[in-house]
Symmetry: C2
Subunit: 115 residues, 2 copies
């Protein structure tokens, strides 16, 4: 399991507009092999911005990587953000391998320990 996050610094006051871009966009991610779920997250307010992050869960890194090389990835990122820029600087990408999982009933599973 792999979690792809993209961190955005949104200027205070632009939160609603930024969220609306995400909420109203057309979503085709679920057609990609290995897609599990997508969440848009609103994080803490830091010095001059509100931290937002996209949060996409994939079955594996390989599934994520295949998507980044697909035509649908290229299309979905060609007009990203529209004409008005609602965040500061560039988004910061962070990808995570899931090492361990604990489910709702307390079951522990090791998915990808360091070698």
């Amino acid at each position: 399991m792999y979690i792809a996050m993209n961190r955005f610094k949104v200027a205070p006051g632009a939160e609603k507009d930024f969220e609306q871009v995400w909420i109203t966009r057309e979503v085709n991610l679920h057609k990609e092999p290995g897609f599990v779920s997508f969440h848009l997250l609103r994080g803490p307010t830091k010095d001059d911005h509100v931290l937002y992050s996209s949060h996409t869960v994939w079955r594996s890194f390989a599934d994520f990587e295949a998507w980044t090389k697909s035509e649908s990835f290229r299309k979905s990122h060609s007009g990203a953000g529209g004409s008005k820029k609602l965040y500061l600087g560039h988004p910061e990408f962070e990808g995570f391998e899931v090492v361990q999982e604990v489910g709702p009933d307390g079951t522990k599973s090791v998915l990808a320990a360091a070698e």
Copy 2:
């Protein structure tokens, strides 16, 4: 839905030991009201460290907050990390409200839009 993440900077070479502390610890989180899931994440290698993050999903911020005020929270953090320190500096906490969710079938739901 609320995601609580704690970011750790782990020195290269200490990855296995750091993961083992998490993998072998006793887990009682699932007994807390509103607990959904826990994941330990291994992220990118940055300048002088490997980024790890804990990733706990709660039904709501209120559930997370109630847990932080509980006796079990105090107990679980009293001996955190054992005697040997496996990460640099202090962990950095970031909590996130889930604004929008897209499920495996593409269903979109707005959970907590900015006011």
